[in-house]
């Protein structure tokens, strides 16, 4: 059981990491980075390190992808579309 969970999370991590390289959309690439962190936190939990899993989920998947997204927006590579832009 644990073997399969670990295997699935490693495969998900690899897939998401390759997706980061090949995705054209910056928003999708940022989301893929956070998927890598989420799968890594599952792996940490399987390896009996709940502390590290919590950190990875909160900092890796949460804060750092938000910082990445906001930085992309700040340098103008990704704009949040508002209603005004569409009209």
């Amino acid at each position: 059981m644990l073997f399969w969970v670990a295997l699935i999370s490693v495969v998900v991590m690899l897939g998401a990491a390759f997706a980061v390289l090949f995705l054209e959309n910056y928003l999708a690439a940022t989301a893929a980075i956070s998927v890598v962190s989420l799968a890594l936190s599952v792996l940490f939990f399987v390896l009996q390190a709940p502390d590290v899993a919590l950190t990875e989920a909160a900092v890796g998947a949460g804060i750092s992808s938000v910082i990445l997204a906001l930085t992309l927006r700040r340098v103008g590579l990704w704009r949040i579309e508002t209603h005004k832009d569409k009209q």
Binding site: D51, L54, A58, V59, G62, I63, V66, T71, R74, G76
Partner: protein, 231 residues
């Protein structure tokens, strides 16, 4: 080859030399069988009354390193604030997010505060830690900003909290210095394992550092969010 390629080549060579030196010098055979790790694993809980070994290493055995880490974080946040700069007063702010995000943000706020405080309060006897609690507290204050960007975070308040928190940390350290002749020595009683009031002054330090990390993250996120994009 331009300068950037040369410098990255030099960096790679340097990194390889560093890794090689580490592999050659550090005796990995001894780490599993003896050394500090085994000592801490067997002695941390009876010595400190803290069940969470990560916390006891972070705040007691290597407390001075944590103080240095806090200083680095403080300086990094200050530098980032300096680079990002102040917001122009006449800059147009983004319109509010949709109904779903605004309602969810209002609903989530108290629960995130409770979760973050819980993780900070019980970090010395169950899984949790300063970074996790701080990140969750920061998220609690950042989600409302994301929902309605027109009402920004009060930077003066957050900076005040950050300064107070660092001052409290230093006061705890100095109290230990004067009462026990050692910087960052353990204050208060040991208590029994798995109680809220136990493990000397570790819970106090835990809460203080968690708040510092939380305000630092919230401040940097809010600053990144509110500075206008260069179109």
């Amino acid at each position: 080859m331009n300068l950037r390629e040369i410098s990255s080549l030099v960096f790679i060579v340097w990194l390889g030399l560093l890794l090689g030196a580490v592999l050659k010098i550090v005796a990995y055979d001894n780490i599993l069988t003896g050394g500090v790790g085994t000592y801490i694993l067997t002695h941390a809980a009876p010595e400190l009354g803290a069940e969470n070994i990560v916390t006891s290493v972070l705040l007691a055995y290597r407390g001075l390193d944590t103080l240095g880490e806090l200083t680095v974080l403080f300086v990094a946040i200050t530098a980032a604030g300096l680079v990002l700069g102040q917001r122009r007063t006449d800059a147009p702010s983004d319109s509010d997010a949709g109904f779903i995000l605004r309602t969810a943000a209002n609903l989530l706020f108290p629960f995130l505060i409770i979760l973050g405080t819980y993780i900070l309060l019980q970090g010395h006897f169950s899984p949790g830690g300063v970074f996790q609690g701080g990140a969750i507290l920061a998220a609690a204050f950042f989600v409302p900003i994301l929902a309605s960007p027109a009402s920004p975070l009060h930077h003066r308040v957050s900076r005040l909290v950050e300064g107070l928190v660092v001052a409290t940390f230093m006061i705890i350290c100095l109290l230990a210095l004067f009462s026990d002749d050692a910087f960052l020595a353990l204050l208060l009683g040991k208590g029994s394992v798995s109680q809220l009031f136990s493990a000397y002054s570790l819970p106090l330090l835990h809460i203080v550092i968690g708040f510092q990390i939380g305000t630092a993250f919230a401040g940097i996120l809010a600053r990144l969010q509110e500075t206008e994009a260069s179109d």
